[in-house]
Subunit: 189 residues, 2 copies
């Protein structure tokens, strides 16, 4: 998606050869017009799939997922990192390993909002090691719903998450895949 | 906003005489069409104000704030509950007291995205004790920006947060104000 790649080139900030900061438009400050375009692009790519629900994880996946849900005309569901005090009843849980914090935590959704009749599109802002996506896939599996695919705004192609998901036979659509952040340059695949 | 009140009546769940669960359309599962209508309504109410930025707090404020930002054509900024490892540099901080957890925590935004030239509209999904709003107001004050007002989807009118904000001279626009949840009934003001 050229609009996104241009935005990453213009506004992304590199920290070393591993971290790309896009908090001016994606995951702290948010550019609503860009989110709307991203929503349209994911909807276009998955429009043949009869998606019934968009699933993401709080917090920075929510904006993207909302625009996808709006375009597809289906509800959006976000997994919570902590079980809310008002989240009564049965939940579906997935495990997410955090490499930066070196710990495993649970994410969960209420079982009321996901079931075997659903065809789920997972949406997230970033894909690197793939742990958030794997946790969301675990939730989809636990709910007996069907998984239509995973839509990612920015995939770090030099980290193994995307490769692993595709090896599992999952359709992964990434709007920008970064091949390298070395030598202070952003190189797309 | 009648559409919202109807939705609350139809899909809201009461727990005792104090808790209204709206996690089927607002803060766990999200109804994108409703969010779009809510965004339009806030934009209509604040269109004379020359808003330059919409500010909210993760996670459940993000969806509403995004649609307001889209309608007003301005960026959305969400305060984080934990300082992210990639959030370098100066931040503006506000304090939020959690009554359910009986603790005070900091919320913060990067100083890059808020400054004295901004006219800020604070958006949140719920207003009860008003602590999240007060924390966001503290951030706006610390940044020297102007505060245009506070937009709330559901205000619990029987708790003191809204009254306190209005006493401070702040314009508060709530799309649905709940007067009482007693006797298993939702009564709007």
């Amino acid at each position: 998606m050229e609009l996104l790649k241009t935005k990453i080139k213009e506004d992304g900030k590199l920290i070393g050869s591993n971290i790309l900061k896009v908090d001016s438009f994606l995951n702290h400050q948010i550019d609503p017009e860009l989110m709307a375009e991203i929503g349209k692009e994911f909807a276009r790519r998955f429009e043949q799939e009869d998606i019934t629900k968009v699933l993401t994880i709080e917090a920075s996946g929510i904006a993207v997922a909302l625009m996808v849900g709006l375009e597809l005309g289906v509800p959006v569901l976000f997994a919570k990192k902590k079980k809310a005090s008002t989240m009564d009843g049965k939940v579906y849980t997935g495990k997410v390993k955090s490499f930066t914090k070196n710990q495993v935590y649970d994410i969960s959704v209420s079982s009321k909002y996901l079931n075997e009749g659903d065809n789920v599109l997972i949406i997230d802002d970033f894909l690197a090691m793939g742990q958030a996506s794997q946790g969301l896939i675990e939730i989809v599996e636990n709910s007996q719903a069907k998984l239509a695919g995973v839509g990612i705004v920015i995939e770090k192609g030099f980290q193994p998450g995307g490769k692993q998901l595709r090896k599992q036979g999952i359709r992964v659509e990434s709007l920008a895949i970064i091949e390298s952040l070395e030598d202070n340059q952003i190189i797309f695949s």
